[in-house]
């Protein structure tokens, strides 16, 4: 009975969201910060097990399945949410806060869902709530991006639903466990999850939509959708080798596009794809170490990625600009934002003594242990590339490079505190990873984060990457451009389809018009109207007056019966002659 008293953490945020419009002034913001903090505490108190069941349309739903895997994601989701709402203390827009709380609540719902029906409900709930974070910017671009975002997610959701229905039909179970049987159903569910994980070619919703969201919207979005997918993959798809390939592609794809982009938030959006690639690869390797690596990397990634988005958000908030071609020299008036942003940039690059260095090597080491040479090499190359596009490019073009005369000053104090807290976590987890390693979900040999050999190799890799950046700096000169990505299919696809239909079908139509309507039918009409007259005139020579009279008769359709019979007989005769063998 006592078990039924446990409250799913998702309820705290979702029900709390309903009260947001009723609370005035600063109390509203304090209330919003308190909700995820309360959820964090609640998660820390939950024992392991299936703690809340509901009977629903003949199925026993499990709303609160708690184990180490759900807890580690629950911790970081609520911790990040608390920091994000401190950052958003300046924001009074209830709609944005409600959407954000609903969205984060949905992510917690997925993480603690013990069955596929509950998971699917929260999955779609997240898609709907997150769309409002994009629309809240209230620009035509944001409306377009929001529409495309929700359509893609509904598509992914439908694929997921199809898989879930087939899985339940095939196995008779709604439980969400590892998909050990590789069936069409499990692959459909995987495809649905990979849409949310931003795996190419269905990744472009991320780089399309996140940069169009509001300052805090982009920050919140960056943490939850893709990491919820990583959680789902870890639980359901450990050891699916295809994920190694998908992960490696994502890791490199994100780098190339981040190098091409001009907008700082688009650079960060592509670097999410790159980072999630490491995690997906870890899931594909499927050993305890690699799965722990994926979970640990998701944990650290959420923190340093939030820090980077906070830093970029502060710049956007203070200057109203987000393009590298319009930014530069901000270290003079935004030094704290620059320092915090740089710490985030170093952490994402796995610089020793930052959090990235204590999480990512777990995945890479797991690849080594499994003798996966190519994946190891690609992950190492991608590690170097991260420093290139996120570690140096982002801070260099935003805070240094050319002084564009911008003198914005630092953002609100709450924004700085929040960034300071996240920067502290990045360094703390980098120097003292024991608390993180203690909550990792799978049993493994103790991992030694720091060896002299490992640190030296990492420094070599990163410093020489930095050298390559500055040596080839001229090639990296920013231009006022965007890069075409796969979203061109659904952004231009409609117009292409219209054009194809217009040009193609109308061409066929006009050809048939010429051939059949104008050509064949006119010829036939002429043949039947003029033919008998010409035949008659040819056979019955007469004087001009007679010929003119016969012509008038035929054209008016009033030829004498005798003549008509004669012509018909002539036709018949001609027909017999022509058809004789």
């Amino acid at each position: 009975m006592i078990a039924n008293l446990y409250i799913p953490p998702a309820f705290i945020l979702i029900l709390g969201a309903l009260l947001v419009p009723l609370i005035p002034g600063k109390a509203k913001n304090i209330f919003i910060i308190a909700l995820p903090a309360l959820a964090f505490w609640l998660i820390s108190q939950l024992p392991h097990g299936e703690l809340l069941g509901v009977h629903f349309f003949g199925h026993d739903l499990s709303l609160l399945r708690v184990d180490k895997l759900s807890k580690i994601f629950g911790y970081v989701f609520t911790l990040n949410a608390t920091a994000v709402f401190i950052y958003a203390f300046y924001l009074k827009d209830s709609q944005q806060h409600m959407s954000a709380l609903g969205y984060i609540g949905g992510a917690l719902g997925v993480v603690f869902a013990g069955d596929l029906i509950t998971l699917y409900f929260y999955w779609e709930w997240m898609a709907v709530c997150s769309t409002f974070l994009i629309l809240a910017r209230r620009t035509p671009k944001a409306y377009g991006a929001g529409f495309r975002y929700v359509m893609l997610h509904l598509f992914g959701g439908l694929v997921l639903l199809a898989g879930i229905v087939m899985h339940i039909h095939g196995t008779g179970s709604i439980g969400f466990e590892a998909f050990t049987e590789r069936t069409l159903a499990s692959y459909l569910i995987l495809a649905g999850i990979l849409v949310n994980a931003a795996a190419p070619p269905f990744h472009a919703w991320l780089s399309d939509a996140y940069p169009e969201a509001t300052v805090t919207g982009g920050l919140i979005l960056s943490a939850y959708t893709t990491k919820t997918s990583v959680y789902t993959l870890i639980r359901g798809y450990a050891g699916y080798e295809i994920l190694i390939v998908v992960g490696c592609v994502m890791a490199l794809y994100g780098i190339i596009y981040a190098l091409l982009e001009n907008d700082m938030r688009r650079i960060l959006a592509y670097s999410i794809i790159n980072q999630v690639g490491f995690m997906v690869c870890g899931v594909g390797i499927g050993t305890a170490m690699s799965l722990n690596g994926a979970a640990a990397h998701a944990f650290c990634h959420i923190i340093y990625k939030s820090l980077l988005w906070m830093s970029a958000g502060s710049v956007l908030y203070m200057t109203g600009k987000s393009k590298c071609t319009e930014l530069g020299g901000l270290y003079k008036t935004m030094p704290l934002t620059m320092i915090f942003g740089t710490i985030g940039a170093l952490a994402i690059s796995s610089m020793p003594f930052t959090s990235g260095y204590t999480s990512k090597p777990l995945i890479i080491e797991a690849a080594v242990n499994q003798h996966l040479v190519w994946p190891w090499l690609i992950l190492e190359i991608a590690s170097a590339g991260v420093f290139l596009h996120a570690g140096i490019k982002f801070p260099y073009f935003v805070f240094f490079n050319v002084d564009r005369g911008l003198r914005p000053g630092e953002p609100h104090k709450t924004m700085l505190w929040s960034m300071g807290f996240m920067a502290f976590l990045c360094i703390f987890l980098g120097c003292y990873p024991a608390p993180l390693y203690a909550i990792l979900p799978f049993e493994m040999e103790p991992h030694v984060a720091y060896t002299l050999s490992g640190v030296l190799k990492q420094f070599q890799l990163l410093m020489l990457s930095a050298l390559a950046f500055f040596v080839f700096l001229k090639l990296l000169k920013r231009t006022d451009t965007i890069a075409i990505d796969t979203d061109i299919i659904w952004r231009k696809g409609g117009r292409w389809f219209y054009l194809c239909a217009d040009k193609g079908l109308n061409f066929v139509n006009s050809v048939f018009n010429e051939l059949l309507h104008k050509g064949a039918s006119t010829a036939l009409a002429r043949y039947f109207s003029e033919g008998p007259l010409r035949l008659t005139l040819a056979v019955l020579p007469a004087d001009d007056a007679k010929r003119a009279q016969i012509s008038r008769y035929f054209r008016a359709g009033i030829s004498p019966i005798g003549l008509s019979v004669a012509v018909a007989a002539l036709y018949l005769f001609g027909f017999i002659i022509l058809t004789l063998p």
Partner: protein, 83 residues
């Protein structure tokens, strides 16, 4: 009343040159240090001196050049989708 002078250390050529030297120096140092530290190779091909350094520089150079080449095809004006 004189205004507080702005911090513009990174704008001066002298300081930028110093940073360049520091960068080269650090790169060299990380490679030279390998002589004194035993680095554990993972596979048969990554045991030589400065493997990670070579991997870092070469892979980043290739990534930059690849991005530059792809940019010729993929980069379009910002109003591309509004046309």
């Amino acid at each position: 009343m004189s205004q507080k002078k702005e911090f513009d250390w990174f704008d001066h050529d002298k300081n930028r040159k110093l940073l360049w030297k520091l960068l080269w120096g650090t790169c060299a140092l990380t490679v030279v240090a390998e002589v004194f530290v035993h680095v554990h190779p993972h596979f048969s091909f990554d045991g030589f001196l400065g493997f990670s350094a070579l991997l870092g520089f070469a892979s980043c150079s290739v990534l930059i050049l690849l991005a530059k080449l792809l940019g010729l095809v993929l980069k379009v004006g910002e109003d591309y989708y509004d046309r």
